[in-house]
């Protein structure tokens, strides 16, 4: 048995437990990112830091084994500021956006990229439902708005902005009396959440977003029918993050009330890799190098998976050098997506929950 103090409370536990294990058992909250109980601990994110008061040093609690006589501090300001720094450092190379620029500037907070995806998928029913909910919760109508969205639209940097305003107006025109009465869906006014930003985007990098809209045939300005709506909405580049409502990093940033650090640093150019067989998407700039996906793929000679490439600041998650991204993870895509704490790994077809979390 091992005797130790955590936050001044005495514990007596069996050998081989980590400090995090004990803390969880005792209901002491420690944030974690790279830890997963199904895998041997690894300790890379360093957001779970605690202080060893006797040795005057700091330890990642997820792999620090409890030792006799330890006196651990989990909650002081000193510990919290170190954790906070680790998150800020992770975010300082996080060249990614939780929310699309169009949505951010929309005075009504319309979920524009979502609407575009519904339209391009020709799911007009849901599109109409979304429009009703948006109008009801904000009281705003697109025809009264100068169209901030189009000004902010990233597509503008490639060629011309998506015809957002006309698309929205077109959908709102389809609203019939009977739909309006129903009004089953109410968008929860989400409290102001943490939002990561990209910073400067290089011209080459911009091309990566175009991979999201491979099927653009023709651009249309005037939206007159469902076909033109579907055609134009296809040119939306999916600027919002697929994990916006399901991201550990974003959650923790919220918990610590962190503002996105200014001046992002670049370790490798932004890339979107899309597996044409499984729809798996990997976005390197969202990866925090926690290594969970790599640990999941280890020892699978049958099915090539993900691995680390390079060393240090420029290390990155990748398919093996000998494989094509299209050929990896034939069966395990969903597993790696589930284990990834961020939006770095996701499914092309994934839709964040439509009515907000």
């Amino acid at each position: 048995m091992v005797k130790l103090k955590i936050d001044n409370a005495d514990f007596e536990v069996k050998e081989g437990l980590t400090i995090l294990d004990i803390a969880i058992g005792a209901g002491i909250k420690i944030p974690t990112l790279c830890n997963n109980k199904n895998f041997p601990h690894y300790s890379s994110c360093m957001v779970c830091m605690v202080k060893d008061q006797k040795k005057e040093n700091f330890l990642p609690s997820c792999s620090a084994l409890a030792q006799d006589g330890m006196d651990i501090d989990c909650s002081s300001d000193e510990v919290k500021s170190l954790r906070r720094e680790s998150i800020e450092l992770l975010l300082s190379e996080h060249r990614a956006e939780c929310e699309a620029p169009c949505k951010v500037v929309c005075p009504g907070g319309y979920n524009i990229p979502l609407m575009n995806r519904l339209l391009s998928a020709k799911d007009f029913n849901t599109a109409v439902q979304l429009s009703i909910a948006q109008i009801q919760s904000s009281g705003l109508k697109c025809k009264d708005c100068p169209g901030y969205c189009e000004n902010a639209c990233r597509r503008k940097k490639v060629d011309t902005p998506v015809s957002i305003k006309n698309l929205q107006i077109f959908v709102s025109q389809q609203i019939k009396m009977e739909n309006r009465v129903a009004g089953q869906h109410n968008i929860k006014k989400s409290s102001k959440r943490f939002a990561s930003h990209i910073g400067k985007i290089e011209a080459d990098e911009l091309q990566e977003w175009l991979k999201e809209c491979k099927n653009v045939i023709k651009r249309v300005r005037e939206i007159s029918d469902s076909d033109s709506a579907a055609m134009e909405s296809e040119s939306c580049m999916h600027c919002d993050c697929r994990a916006a409502d399901n991201c550990r990093l974003r959650d923790i940033a919220d918990e610590f009330s962190i503002k996105d650090p200014r001046g992002k640093i670049v370790n490798s150019p932004i890339q979107k890799k899309i597996n044409i067989n499984t729809g798996l998407i990997f976005e390197n700039a969202k990866c925090i190098k926690c290594g969970l996906c790599v640990r999941l793929c280890e020892n699978s000679k049958e099915e090539p998976g993900l691995c680390f490439i390079n060393r240090g600041f420029v290390s990155i998650i990748s398919e093996p050098l000998t494989e094509d991204f299209n050929d990896i993870l034939k069966t395990k895509s969903q597993e790696v997506i589930d284990i990834c704490p961020t939006g770095a790994l996701s499914l092309k077809t994934h839709q964040p929950p439509i009515w907000g979390a």
Binding site: Y42, S43, S44, C45, M46, V47, M49, N57, F58, L59, P60, S63, A64, L65, Q67, L82, E85, S86, L89, L90, S92, E93, I265, N267, I288, K289, G291, V294, C297, E298, N299, S300, K301, P304, G305, L306, C307, F308, I309, N310, R311, G312, F313, V314, S315, S318, P320, L321, T322, E323
Partner: protein
């Protein structure tokens, strides 16, 4: 040969075990010069290595290339000593002369590629350039052309080290250093010249190659011991002088008249000294005094018998008392008593942290597991250190003996030498020594007829500083990426393959036989209260006499710099000592009376580290030094933990802005805060100690940091803050104009020359070439 058959051939040799991945990659690259993905793919097909493993591992280590390179690789040393002696300018010069394309990293004719490498282990001859196996020392940026030319005609001849022959009926023994520095200094040419002279005059002499003598910046070094046992040493020997020197000491056995005449002539010339060409024109007594001063303040334990032992000779090592300690351990002692002797001697690990060696052995002894391992850590990655290299090259048997004793004491049956990739000579020497040990029964089964068996093998690193950290080293041995993990579990409890593994530094092990032979008190009586015995340092930088020194603990830094190193070069002022490499710090001259002692150095914010000691003078900029070390640690970070991977990048960005005069006082405060976070939050020693150079810089030289925010670099080192200027001493000789590679100086015979600041690339060529010292470096704002 096609790629698949190369791979098949290699795998035939190495086996299919995933642990062998580094070796397989090394062997394949040796044959193909790079690693095409076809080769990687085939390796996965014929071994148990997965595509993930081979991709992760082959991109982790700097040694492996995934793009074809030029036929010859020019390695430019970017180690500390070379950096302070101007290696960045050298690198620029080679790139310019060869028109190296940065993307492809090859010259247009595909003949040359450039690689910047951490210390090549010849710091005392800095700056160093190595083309394939051929080493050039004291290189100037203006020599790039000349060196390439020399390389192309002379090619890369292998070093032939003649076996030393035992033959007592000789007139003299000629000892010549064959350590890396000596070879770089040209000792192989000297060796062959001695042989020529020997044949020409039929001299009755024995030629004996010896290991590093320690005076590495005076190489090549030649010592003549005559029958009468008179020693004469010659430093910086030139090929042309060999004949003269030899004939002075040794009489030819049979001479024909004509040659005799010419010899008398020669001897006369020699006696009057002045007529001699080259650098040997100092009277012998003076030379002796010079060397003796350097050697006398030292105490030799790890380096015992330096310059006397033939590194590869098992017999000589035994004659000098070698393997007696091992015999004593096995025949007269037992495990617990040996561990107690080591503990009582006060020996602490020389690998950096200074953990008590006896205690570590005790833990390993008590751990259960079979087999147990002993690892000799020879990864020495500190860019300003080469002690371990020298010990392995010159005293391989001593280190092996220490390892066997460690194995016996802790109950281990297998030993592994982990040796850095850049040390091929050390690998060869240790390999030969291991072979000889097996032949003589000190390795293998039932050593000295006891029940104790011990086997040793070598693992060559692949170029990753972090693999010096013991848990990363073990990952690397296991065929994984060399990333560290949190301890405990300590390797002594659960290490290589999960078994108890004792990891000790080369130097630590080399002291062990001495302690056993002379007793624990002998070591314990030397040094300070908590730091016992001696420490080997690589003394380099702006010092008159650099080299490898072994000094007793408790000596002051000033004694080392002034007595042993004979002060700073060129009459410049002694500014600081950088100690402990990238993990250590700069100790200012005002604190030079600090004792060499683990705790004392740590108190100052530096650390003992592995033993790099680089002397800095007033022409060195402290911000530039910090930037240099941070660049190194940042590049060497394994990338696992957030603070080290990203934190060092932010630190480096701020420091870089400082050297460009673009940072503010507030940035300095941010930098200091960040340093503390990185120190507290990093997972392993690499990250935790990476802020030390900055923190000591801020502690002792803060005003220099602050000056940089105003665009002033008082050492005139930071390139963005200086410019080249022609002063009134210019006689209009036009040399600078001819030498300037970018034509920034218009050709104006007999007129004062001028430099066009917009064109000048600050390559330093003009300043080197100017015979009038008319070209000066001044502050850009001044």
């Amino acid at each position: 040969m096609d790629i698949t058959s190369v791979v098949d051939e290699v795998v035939e040799l190495t086996g299919r075990d995933p642990e062998k991945v580094v070796l397989i990659l090394q062997e394949v690259q040796k044959r193909l010069n790079w690693l095409p993905s076809e080769a990687l793919k085939h390796i996965c097909e014929v071994t148990d290595i997965t595509p993930e493993q081979i991709s992760g591992v082959s991109t982790f280590y700097s040694q492996f290339r995934h793009l074809p390179v030029g036929k010859h690789t020019i390695k430019i040393c970017a180690g500390t000593a070379c950096h302070v002696k101007g290696s960045p300018l050298i690198s620029d010069a080679f790139k310019r002369v060869l028109k190296i394309d940065n993307v492809r990293n090859a010259s247009p004719d595909n003949l040359f590629s450039i690689e910047e490498v951490a210390c090549l282990g010849c710091c005392t001859l800095a700056p160093i350039v190595q083309i394939d196996g051929k080493t050039y020392g004291h290189v100037k940026p203006t020599q790039a052309d000349e060196i390439i030319h020399d390389f192309l005609i002379s090619g890369n001849q292998p070093v032939n080290t003649p076996e030393s022959v035992i033959n007592e009926d000789i007139d003299a023994e000629i000892r010549i250093g064959i350590g890396s520095c000596c070879v770089a200094g040209g000792s192989k040419e000297i060796l062959s010249e001695i042989n020529n002279v020997k044949e020409k005059y039929n001299l009755n002499i024995r030629l004996k190659p010896v290991g590093c003598v320690g005076v590495c910046n005076q190489t090549p070094l030649m010592e003549i011991v005559t029958k009468e046992n008179i020693h004469s040493r010659y430093t910086k020997v030139d090929k042309q002088q060999v004949e003269e020197i030899l004939l002075k000491h040794v009489r030819p056995r049979s001479l024909n008249k004509r040659i005799k005449g010419s010899i008398n002539d020669l001897v006369d010339t020699f006696l009057s000294e002045e007529k001699l060409s080259g650098q040997v024109n100092i009277p012998v007594e003076l030379r002796e005094k010079y060397l003796n001063n350097f050697l006398n303040h030292q105490v030799h334990i790890s380096t015992k018998n330096s310059g006397v032992l033939s590194p590869e000779s098992y017999e000589e090592y035994c004659l000098s008392g070698g393997f007696e300690a091992l015999l004593k351990c096995i025949k007269e002692s037992d495990q617990k008593s040996i561990i107690k002797i080591i503990a009582d001697s006060g020996l602490r690990g020389r690998g950096g942290a200074g953990f008590p060696t006896g205690k570590k052995w005790g833990i390993s002894f008590l751990s259960t597991g079979n087999p147990k391992y002993v690892i000799c850590n020879g990864d020495e990655g500190d860019p300003g250190a080469f002690m371990d290299r020298m010990l392995l090259e010159s005293f391989p048997y001593r280190v092996i003996e220490g390892m066997i004793i460690a194995g016996f004491a802790t109950g281990a049956s297998e030993g592994i030498f982990y040796i850095r990739a850049e040390y091929p000579l050390a690998v060869t020497r240790v390999r030969t020594a291991i072979k000889r040990c097996y032949e003589n029964g000190v390795l293998g089964n039932n050593i000295y007829d006891s029940t104790f068996s011990f086997n040793v093998k070598i693992f060559e690193g692949a170029g990753a500083f972090v693999c010096g950290e013991e848990t990363a080293l073990i990952s690397s041995l296991e065929g994984k990426r060399g990333t560290p993990h949190l301890r405990p579990p300590y390797p002594a409890v659960s290490g290589f393959r999960g078994q108890p593994t004792l990891v000790n530094n080369v130097e630590t092990l080399s002291i062990v036989p001495w302690i056993i032979t002379y007793g624990q008190e002998a070591l314990c009586s030397m040094g300070t209260e908590k730091s016992k015995g001696t420490k080997v340092f690589a003394l380099a930088g702006k010092i008159s006499k650099g080299g490898l020194i072994e000094v007793p603990m408790g000596i002051t830094i000033r004694e080392i710099v002034e007595n042993i190193g004979d002060g700073v070069i060129n009459g410049n002022t002694f500014k600081a000592v950088q100690i402990g490499g990238p993990s250590g710090g700069c100790i200012p001259a005002s604190k030079a009376d600090t004792l060499v002692d683990y705790e004392e150095l740590t108190k100052l914010g530096a650390m003992m580290g592995s033993g790099g000691m680089v002397v800095l003078d007033n022409t060195d900029c402290m911000v530039d030094m910090a930037k240099y070390f941070l660049t190194f640690t940042h590049k060497q970070s394994c990338g696992k933990c957030t603070f080290c991977r990203i934190g060092t990048k932010h630190m480096l960005n701020i420091i870089t802005a400082l050297t460009e005069g673009k940072a503010t006082l507030e940035d300095i405060n941010d930098l200091e805060k960040l340093c503390k976070y990185v120190r507290d939050g990093s997972l392993c020693g690499l990250g935790k100690t990476s802020p030390n150079p900055v923190l000591t810089g801020l502690k002792y030289f803060r005003e220099e940091y602050e000056e940089h925010t105003r665009g002033i670099c008082r050492a005139n080192k930071c390139r963005d803050l200086i410019k080249y200027n022609v002063n009134d001493s210019c006689t209009g000789c036009t040399k600078c104009s001819q030498e300037c590679p970018v034509k920034a100086i218009p050709f104006k015979p007999y007129e004062k020359h001028e430099i066009d600041q917009l064109i000048c690339t600050k390559c330093d060529n003009c300043r080197i070439i100017c015979p009038e010292k008319a070209i000066e470096i001044i502050n850009i704002n001044g």
